[in-house]
Symmetry: C2
Amino acid sequence: MRYKIVLSYDGSDFCGWQSQPNGESVQNAVETAAAKLFGHKTTVVGSGRTDAGVHALAQTAHFDSDKALPIKNVVGGLNAYLPDSIRVISAEESDSRFDSRKSAKKKTYMYLMYRGDKTPLLNKRALFAGDLDTAAMAAAAKELIGTHDFSTFKAAGSSAKTSMRTVYDATVEERDGFIVFKITANGFLYNMVRIIVAQLIKIGKGEHIDMATLIAARDRNAAKETAPGYGLYLYRVEYD
Amino acid sequence: MRYKIVLSYDGSDFCGWQSQPNGESVQNAVETAAAKLFGHKTTVVGSGRTDAGVHALAQTAHFDSDKALPIKNVVGGLNAYLPDSIRVISAEESDSRFDSRKSAKKKTYMYLMYRGDKTPLLNKRALFAGDLDTAAMAAAAKELIGTHDFSTFKAAGSSAKTSMRTVYDATVEERDGFIVFKITANGFLYNMVRIIVAQLIKIGKGEHIDMATLIAARDRNAAKETAPGYGLYLYRVEYD
């Protein structure tokens, strides 16, 4: 039986989604909880890897078990074994052909920035960015929409076969005291959102950077900076 | 020269305000930063100790140095040496008779709770309390106002000479999705706020507990629970 789960997590204390030799990963924590609940080892496949420090409001994952548990018990049981920094929001039985990674059609990431005074209470949760021209950032973000070769925003180490991606929406808005960047695409290259955010911040600070020119460069040297992981949230994963 | 500083911190990664043999304390982090900035060791005296995991929006402290630095440089310099989890909000030169602890006239603590769904994003920041009757809690909080012997709410290990304290205000309000308890007094006994919060939560969950009777008991056995430290914030310290 295949289970589909939606997870929320504070990435601060993890080395990222994917299990690694050093450091505790979110995947490993969920697999440990699942093994306790179901009584056997199982691989928990996420819709995508989130880096160290990156958070999730709704990461989707799947795993298999021969054991049929009532869905309510899957949510409650996993949460009982998980640390407070990871919560299962929902669970459902899914088609055995469902694959949280391969079946994903759209993903949305959110990046949180704030101005005013730097506060420890937002430590590891949002980027203190100082004053920013959000209108300029919003205009630049719009240029990302469409199907492009996003090589400029691809970090070394990416295993993607192609750098073509379709961005459906990209916005910069002020909300609840935060400057919020949101981007929806059919997929993202390694560090793509964080590299884009670093450029948006430069634009917000008044640098004359043309996003269309950056994209057309298809060269990471045109956009060298990477915004820190702790401002980034996997916001939503959509399936058919 | 005596400097008065106001600090904000995320207490999650600290063993509390006070320096201890094991674990990093907020006090130690500030003293380390001050030693780097002023070039000599100095003791940083806080208005009061906050426990492990407890946060501060505005903790006041003082320290001495023979070195006269422009105030702007004190704020910027300390922040440059401090970890992101501690920020100096303001600094001023103070009278040499000013003592952040002994001169404090009123202190306000805030305790953050929330209902709805438990979220990892509030991990170590607020207590997930489920559904609560905030009107009942507010009514019970009001009973705390006045000058009383608060022995019922004093944890073992308190070195206070007297358990008499004057509570000037105590409120429970819903705000920004949080249930917020705020209490202002001329001083607090060891764990007093957290022990009170544990009782308020029981009242919010429908238990028939009379706060005036609890106070009158003057016995810790009448109020055994202690709410977790991570929901607690030192909100303000007032001086003449």
